[in-house]
């Protein structure tokens, strides 16, 4: 089956937006590490993790081609549903004010204080900076790897568009990080997470259906219909959640 525009366009957009969120979160910690303990070790730590993650994508991507497509669609679709609906659930609860919004400035300040109190770097090579940057890049990067593989493995030829979206996000965030040298606090993170949750849930539902040999009414265009349906549902749930919870419990603390 060929790849339609609906499929390729939504894959790139989903991968880009999801990766953008993860890269922004990683950047905040890397900036804190670099500004407090020195840039060399922090950047080497982060770059090392990116290399490891690229190897994982290449290895898993190749291995997945050996498994029959319906099985991949079913398993990856189920995982994507768990992942996407979990993400959407949290975005709805954040939008309703029931769980705290992600505050990059507060996280930056918290990490800067923590790394500052763990002693100054004795040499040019700082193990703490390397380990912290490596860990956060691996942690956030693992989610990016999962998203790229989940979106890319569902159909032959989709790994490249999904990877391009992730690489584009990495480049955009890296360039902004180098230019600004401060956390990207103005990025509307919950709006992005809301959109990504909607898109990942739609992809998960579509893949599961394909894996179960369902006939979608409009073939690949059903992905767009699913995106619209999840968006309407999520937007309707936000005020419903607000009305169900106590109005005297606004949550503004950073997570």
């Amino acid at each position: 089956m060929g790849i339609s525009w609906a499929h390729m366009g939504t894959s790139i957009a989903t991968s880009f937006l999801a990766s953008l969120v993860e890269c922004v979160e990683a950047l905040t910690v890397i900036l804190a590490v670099g500004s407090v303990r020195g840039w060399r070790s922090a950047l080497i730590g982060s770059a090392s993790a990116v290399v490891v993650l690229l190897l994982i994508v290449a290895g898993l991507g190749t291995a997945l081609t050996q498994i029959p497509l319906p099985i991949i669609q079913l398993v990856v679709g189920a995982l994507l549903l768990l992942f996407g609906l979990r993400w959407l659930r949290k975005a709805i609860l954040r939008s309703a004010g029931l769980i705290p919004l992600h505050d990059e400035q507060a996280i930056f300040a918290k990490h800067s204080a923590a790394f500052g109190s763990s002693g100054a770097a004795a040499t040019a090579w700082d193990k703490i900076a390397f380990a912290a940057a490596f860990n956060i890049t691996m942690l956030e990067g693992t989610e990016v790897v999962f998203i790229v593989i989940a979106i890319g493995a569902g159909r032959t030829g989709m790994m490249l568009p999904a990877s391009l979206g992730a690489v584009a996000a990495l480049l955009v965030v890296t360039a902004l990080g180098f230019a600004l040298h401060r956390p990207l606090a103005r990025v509307p993170e919950n709006t992005l997470k809301f959109a990504v949750g909607v898109m990942l849930s739609a992809f998960g539902t579509f893949w599961v259906g394909e894996g179960m040999h369902m006939q979608w009414p409009a073939a690949d265009w059903s992905i767009l219909a699913l995106i619209a349906a999840y968006l309407v549902l999520a937007l309707a749930l936000v005020p419903l959640c607000r009305s169900q919870s106590s109005p005297s419990q606004p949550v503004t603390r950073p997570s």
Binding site: R89, T142, V208, M212, M214, L233
Partner: protein, 74 residues
């Protein structure tokens, strides 16, 4: 072996926040896989049913969380 525990916990956390929510999704997927095909529904209807119940599961989970926030015990 602490790092294995850490990685396992991180991977689990990627997919599960609310255990009941995750379990309900998996249970529904099992029903769609093994029971729905036996009902001889129109082919195009199964996708709509798949989405509709997932929507209900999501709605129930967020509303349950919202109600719990309202409870004086929380």
């Amino acid at each position: 072996m602490n790092w294995i525990k850490t990685i396992s916990r991180e991977i689990y956390g990627l997919f599960v926040d609310d255990g009941v929510f995750a379990l309900a999704i998996l249970l529904w997927l099992a029903i769609v896989r093994w029971i729905i095909p036996r009902l001889n529904l129109p082919a195009e209807a199964t996708g709509v049913i798949l989405f509709a119940v997932l929507a209900l599961i999501l709605g129930e989970s967020v509303l349950r969380y919202a109600r719990r926030k309202q409870s004086p015990r929380n």
